[in-house]
């Protein structure tokens, strides 16, 4: 069987004032008809550059050496016109962030028909009919209505399926999928992967699947290539990869994805909880699909307690109200009803005035999801930490502040040489360490982690979770961990609350919830995690409704 796509000894060079810098070294892989091949590695490993070279989307000035053959034709031998034709008709590509690839001012229908009308010269009516068929094929109900909607009205999972449908418009033979589920919830990830699996069966599509999640690649691909520092270090058959893996790095990735450290022993029962939330409610007023005002219930009667030095995980999909709960706790949102007390103080209302805000900042701190966006891009690491320290000790001498900055850097295991760097020069893990150090500057008794590791690579995730665990043991800070990822919970939390549609579905110790879940929803969340022998299945839970961050609790009758 001749491979549909063949990459042979591909080198990729980035432009650099000191001469071209090599980023990918002799990357070699081939994909047969109907085969799915995974390319797995951390960010910066060169996996995205490799697919971009195939799709002809390398940034300006990048050069390649080696061979890329599509259907046996070396793309270097083709004329630019033939090459463009080949890419338009044989290759389909899907990206990580569908929202960034869609013009927010145009409807889904415009987007779907544009390529058909302008590239394939199809008449408008035919293009619209074809677009509806494609949307239907990727499992979108009522495609006619969706075609009239704008990207902002659709959820991330739905948008990603629109992108898949658009990639299928030209009947490609090869689908290049670059981290297509990284920005999605586990359950949505499962749905998208189920769509891809169906398509492969029906269309004999070849798939090049790029991801940093080895378990996911193993579950959906026939073969998996592991990439590190621009080199493919190992190629494994997906079914037997757990046994056959020889390379040290593959084993690290595997353990990062699978290893489930034993939960920390639960703290002894304490009478006075540090955090007590009772019957919290929050409703947003938004404009509905028909232009009228609608009420969205984000948090609906949530009660939570957390012991000093304890660690509680709040799990749920986007729209479950978990982040809103945290934002209310820190005074970034105002609750409609309910009481909230921290360390014996009533925090039901957001702080009034700077002094009250500073007093609360000394007790509770927060680490945000995206460390790049939660740090001021203009500040160096040193300035950022010094500012956080000065808030609470305005009269300290410069030397005392510097000493404290260094102490914090040590606490989060950051090299002192990084003091003068700005966030853009740091890796994702380093940025999150800075954000954690900043949160620790006040010596808080409660640390809220809002999806603090979801934007990071698996290996970095493990590093940060280990660090948080160590900090918790060293300082005795209580952790409130908000996440959609149940594996994260197992590493760090002793108590878990599962939230859905603003309500608490289930609560208990981490071991109980993860090993013997009672609620159906918890089981669904656990089933969605890719693992050995996992098959993505399509489910419908009404999650695909159009609201991105807040979800109506009335969507599903309880």
């Amino acid at each position: 069987m001749t491979p549909v796509l063949e990459i042979d000894a591909l080198d990729i060079f980035a432009p650099d004032p000191g001469g071209p810098r090599q980023l990918v070294f002799g990357s070699t892989l081939s994909i047969g008809k109907g085969e799915a091949v995974g390319l797995v590695g951390e960010s910066g490993s060169g996996k995205t550059l490799t697919v971009r070279a195939v799709a002809g989307l390398l940034p300006d000035g990048f050069t390649t050496r080696g061979m890329i053959r599509i259907d046996g034709e070396d793309i270097a031998d083709l004329s630019p016109r033939a090459l463009r034709d080949l890419r338009a008709h044989r290759l389909g590509m899907i990206f990580q962030t569908p929202r960034a690839h869609l013009n927010p001012l145009r409807t889904i229908g415009d987007f779907m028909t544009e390529a058909l009308v302008h590239v394939a010269d199809v008449r408008q009516q035919d293009a619209e009919r074809r677009a509806r068929e494609l949307l239907d094929e990727v499992g979108i109900t009522d495609p006619g209505r969706r075609m009239r909607q704008h990207p902002a009205e659709l959820s991330g999972g739905l948008l990603q399926r629109v992108m898949i449908a658009a990639a299928l418009a030209m009947d490609p033979e090869i689908l290049l999928a670059d981290e297509i589920t990284t920005a999605l919830d586990v359950t949505t990830q499962e749905e998208v992967m189920a769509v891809i699996a169906d398509l492969r069966r029906h269309r004999e599509l070849s798939l090049l699947f790029i991801t940093h999640d080895l378990a996911l690649a193993g579950a959906v691909c026939d073969r998996v290539n592991v990439m590190q520092h621009g080199r493919i270090v190992e190629t494994l058959a997906a079914a037997t990869m757990r046994r056959d893996a020889k390379d040290e790095y593959t084993k690290i990735l595997m353990s990062a994805a699978l290893d489930e450290a034993p939960p920390i022993a639960a703290a002894a029962d304490v009478v006075q909880p540090i955090l007590r939330i009772e019957d919290l409610h929050k409703t947003y007023r938004v404009r509905g699909a028909d232009g009228r005002r609608e009420e969205l219930v984000a948090v609906d009667g949530v009660s939570i307690q957390l012991a000093p030095g304890g660690s509680l995980g709040i799990v749920g999909e986007s729209g479950s109200g978990k982040s809103t709960t945290a934002r209310i706790l820190l005074g970034l949102e105002r609750a409609d009803a309910g009481t909230l007390s921290v360390d014996g103080h009533d925090w039901s209302r957001p702080a009034r005035g700077g002094r009250e805000r500073r007093r609360r900042a000394k007790i509770a701190q927060m680490v945000f999801q995206d460390p790049y966006q939660s740090l001021d891009r203009r500040q160096t690491v040193g300035q950022c930490l010094a500012e956080a320290i000065r808030v609470h000790r305005p009269k300290d001498s410069r030397d005392a502040v510097t000493a404290r900055v260094l102490e914090l850097m040590g606490q989060v295991r950051l090299d002192e040489a990084l003091l003068g760097t700005r966030p853009r020069a740091l890796s994702g893990g380093q940025r999150q360490r800075v954000a954690i150090a900043r949160a620790l500057a006040a010596d808080p008794v409660l640390l809220v982690l809002d999806e603090a590791v979801s934007a990071l690579d698996v290996t970095t995730q493990v590093e940060i979770l280990t660090l948080l665990d160590a900090i918790r043991r060293e300082t005795g800070v209580a952790l409130l961990m908000i996440t959609h990822d149940l594996t994260v919970i197992r590493r760090l939390c002793d108590q878990v609350v599962v939230m859905r549609q603003g309500r608490i579905e289930e609560r208990g110790t981490a071991a109980d919830i993860l090993d013997a879940p009672q609620a159906e929803y918890t089981r669904l969340l656990l089933d969605s995690i890719p693992r050995e022998g996992w098959q993505p299945r399509r489910r419908r839970l009404g999650r695909t409704q159009s609201l991105p961050t807040v979800t109506r609790s009335t969507i599903i009758p309880e």
Binding site: D16, L330, A361, K362, M366, L375, E387, A439, A441
Partner: protein, 287 residues
């Protein structure tokens, strides 16, 4: 050999572009520096008294005695350009600085408090927007009397809405970013957030706006002097010189308009290039 040429050859396009941009900015800086020096020492290096009538022929062409020629009253145009530089260069600078300070203050206040404060400010801005700058200038003259102060105050007020609109949008967007929430959670005071984080974030957009505003201010001040509300004749400034030269252009003696116009164009271009560089520099610091 320019920096751009040295940088040519094997180095990538990005580096070449950067070098070229710096070369351009260097030129702009030198040009603007020269213009400012002229504006300061103009009266002392002018070869003739700028107001002396019949220093040469009426509508005289360029010559060795009068390099820029003479105007319709026989005054030396070079001397008038040099002496007029002061009013022509510094008045727009004052206008731009004043309107930017006030506009950004208004914008930050509106974006910070939001709600009815923001709405009220927006309405006031709309009202100012609706009144033409020239009308405000006439009012200002009634208050301050004739002279340069009136048009400067009038234009500063007239430009506030433009600066405020632009920077309020930018400020609101910046305030919505996660790092602003992070700063509040840390307990950083509102003033510190404003001055250490919010205002620096506005620099790129405000710098670009200032550069554009300088050009407009220069032209608007000229229009005001043309109406007789600004710099009072016979005191020269570039705008009124261009305006007064209109008749000369038709009569085949364009010198009176052309030479000050060249100075206006060169100055505005230099300031535009500098503003662009400040924007790029501030953005580079951000990324």
């Amino acid at each position: 050999m320019s920096v751009a040429q040295i940088a040519g050859g094997t180095t990538p396009a990005v580096a070449r572009r950067a070098a070229k941009r710096d070369w351009l900015v260097l030129t702009a800086l030198v040009v603007f520096g020269l213009v400012v020096i002229i504006a300061i020492i103009g009266p002392w290096i002018a070869p003739y008294d700028p107001d002396q009538l019949y220093a040469g022929p009426i509508n005289g062409a360029s010559s060795l005695v009068h390099p820029f020629g003479t105007d319709d009253l026989g005054r030396d145009i070079l001397s008038r350009v040099l002496v007029g530089a002061g009013a022509s260069v510094f008045a727009p600078i004052v206008v731009v600085v004043l309107s930017t300070l006030l506009g950004v203050a208004v914008a930050v206040t509106g974006a910070w408090f939001g709600g009815w404060v923001s709405g009220g400010i927006a309405r006031i801005i709309d009202v100012i927007f609706a009144i033409p700058g020239l009308v405000i200038a006439v009012l200002a003259v009634a208050v301050f009397g004739k002279g340069l102060a009136a048009p400067i105050v009038a234009l500063s007020i007239a430009y506030i809405p433009i600066v405020a609109r632009l920077s309020q949008t930018a400020a609101s967007r910046e305030l919505g970013k996660p790092y602003m929430a992070a700063l509040r959670v840390q307990g950083v005071s509102s003033l510190a957030i404003c001055f250490r984080h919010l205002v620096p974030a506005l620099i790129p957009i405000v710098a670009a706006q200032m550069a554009i505003g300088f050009g407009y201010a220069m032209l608007d001040l000229a229009a005001i002097s043309f109406l007789g509300l600004g710099q009072q004749p016979p005191a020269p400034d570039w705008g009124s010189m261009i305006a007064n030269g209109q008749a000369g252009i038709l009569a085949g003696a364009p010198e009176q308009s052309v030479f000050p116009a060249i100075f206006v164009v060169v100055t505005v271009l230099a300031v535009g290039a500098l503003g662009g560089r400040v924007t790029v520099w501030a953005e580079e610091k951000e990324r």
